[in-house]
Amino acid sequence: MDDLYRDYILEHYKRPKNFGELDPHDLEALEHNPLCGDELGVHIRVRDGRIEDLRFHGHGCAISQAAASIASEELKGMSLKDVAELDADWMIDLLGIPVSATRRKCALLNLKVVRGAVTGDRAWPA
């Protein structure tokens, strides 16, 4: 079996969850992966300090799309305060595959976008 392209990764890539637009929304952000030009945006609806719902849009590789899809399920219902504290390990663990240094940005792009929408911080998750 492939280390990286596991079945569930490819499944999320081909049929990503929570992709599309969300209108109206309370928060949004859009970021690029400078390495490949991929673009990922997010729309977030907030209720009582929590992410009530969210949608990603844009295009990317299997890793970045699967990461966004997998994360989207976890992010729903999370408090904004907790979202602000999410770090790279959270995402990498959640993804469950070995991510090389070069592909790390692919895996972390969605978290960068979400954290950017919530906190305004545009740094890469560390």
Binding site: D2, L4, Y5, L10, L35, C36, G37, D38, E39, H59, G60, C61, A62, I63, Q65, R103, C106
Partner: protein
């Protein structure tokens, strides 16, 4: 058409990296468009210079400094001769990016103003786009793009039409596109540009490594390229320019070596080419590049081109066998440089490159520093395989196998 093998240069043994094994496998390097591998003679020359001839240049009286000086200037002469340029108008920079920035700052700021236009093409590398954006914004000038047609080529009529508008001060374009592979008709373009009273800058980063370049017949006012793609070390690039232009221009980087004399409030400039080489230059790197072009001359640039063209033709032939694969750029190998950029349906280029790597094949994926072109092509990214003198037909076969295997991983 004779089988590819017949026309293959047999030089792989000259390149030490191919002795390496990756998880027991040989290196299959199809990314020379990003940077070339280096023959042992180049690495040895670089190391030998640092080991036995190292001193700073231009000012030392002692014997060792004179050796360093002579080595550096001899490298300049070799590099100039390689493309039919004069040594005094051959400037060492750190890469082609610096060379283009030099022109945009020094020539551009003095010659491009409000109401003027800079003309580039849709197939440019960011190195030949962003400096012009910066210049145009600063000077209130307009940046226009020559269109790329569905074959991935420029139209001379479109160039004429742009020039006829009368506001174009400089036309900056690639000799060979790093994405499409297109070989642009430089001589015909520069003739038209000169006739229109504009200046031409040609980005030869992809051309110099793979075909005979003779600046005399190309007629460009400025021609720039980069050492690391031409079998040379990192850290060195080259700018050639027409003497009158270089002489009129203000310097770009300022400091030691580029001055004739410095007073408290003002300075006067050294003669060419030193006026444009501020500070300690990439001495050992230039020496290495001198040996690289000597090595290429030894192979014969017509043989290099024939070898790479044959491989490219074979690559184009084989790639179409892969279902869902679409190559961008001119369909015929005669009209393109030694590369093929492509998309593969159902697999993002990043994953294509990752899957190729599992087959031990090194290719590049992304926007290739040409985002405007990606937009024109209607894609976010492509995968790109590019060949060098050390490649063989079996490398292409390995790529095709890896792509087919990759499609299976993705359930296609």
């Amino acid at each position: 058409m004779p089988p590819v093998a017949e026309r293959t240069l047999e030089v792989r043994a000259d390149f030490p990296i191919f002795a390496r094994r990756f998880d027991g496998r040989e290196l299959i390097y199809l990314d020379s468009g990003a940077t070339s591998q280096k023959p042992q003679v180049v690495i040895d020359a670089l190391a030998d210079h640092l080991q036995s001839h190292n001193a700073n240049v231009h000012r030392g009286v002692y014997a060792l400094a004179q050796e360093a000086d002579a080595a550096y200037e001899e490298a300049r002469q070799k590099v100039a001769a390689f493309v039919g340029a004069a040594a005094e108008t051959t400037i060492f920079t750190k890469n082609v990016t610096e060379a283009i920035n030099l022109i945009a700052y020094s020539w551009g700021r003095a010659n491009v103003g409000a109401g003027d236009a800079v003309l580039i093409t849709q197939m440019e590398h960011h190195a030949n786009i962003v400096p012009w954006q910066v210049l145009c914004r600063e000077r209130g000038a307009t940046l226009r793009y020559l269109e790329v047609d569905e074959r991935g080529e420029l139209s001379l009529e479109a160039l004429d039409a742009e020039l006829a508008r009368g506001d174009v001060r400089i036309v900056a374009f690639a000799h060979v596109s790093n994405v499409l592979g297109t070989i642009n008709p430089v001589a015909e373009m520069t003739r038209r540009i000169r006739a229109a009273g504009a200046i031409s800058l040609v980005d030869g980063a992809q051309a110099v490594p793979q075909m005979g370049v003779d600046l005399g017949s190309l007629g460009a006012d400025f021609y720039a390229w980069t050492g690391h793609k031409a079998l040379g070390p990192t850290g060195v690039g080259v700018l050639h320019g027409r003497r009158e232009l270089l002489e009129q221009m203000e310097p770009f980087l300022t400091g030691g070596d580029m001055i004739a004399s410095v007073d408290f409030q003002s300075a006067s400039w050294n003669e060419l080419p030193y006026k444009f080489e501020a500070g300690t230059p990439p001495i050992a790197e230039a020496v290495g590049l001198g040996v690289a072009v000597e090595y290429l001359s030894g192979l014969g640039m017509e043989n290099v081109r024939a070898h790479e063209r044959a491989l490219t033709a074979y690559m184009l032939e084989r790639l179409v066998e892969v279902p869902g694969l679409r190559v961008v750029g001119p369909p015929e190998a005669e009209h393109r440089g030694a590369l093929a950029s492509f998309t593969l349906e159902g697999i993002h280029p990043h994953d294509v490159a990752e899957l190729a790597d599992r087959g031990g094949v090194c290719i590049r994926a992304g926007h290739h520093c040409a985002q405007p072109l990606m937009r024109c092509l209607g894609v976010g990214a492509t995968a790109r395989a590019s060949v060098g003198v050390y490649n063989e037909a079996s490398d292409i076969d390995a790529l095709v196998s890896a792509l087919n295997a990759g499609r299976e991983v993705f359930g296609l």
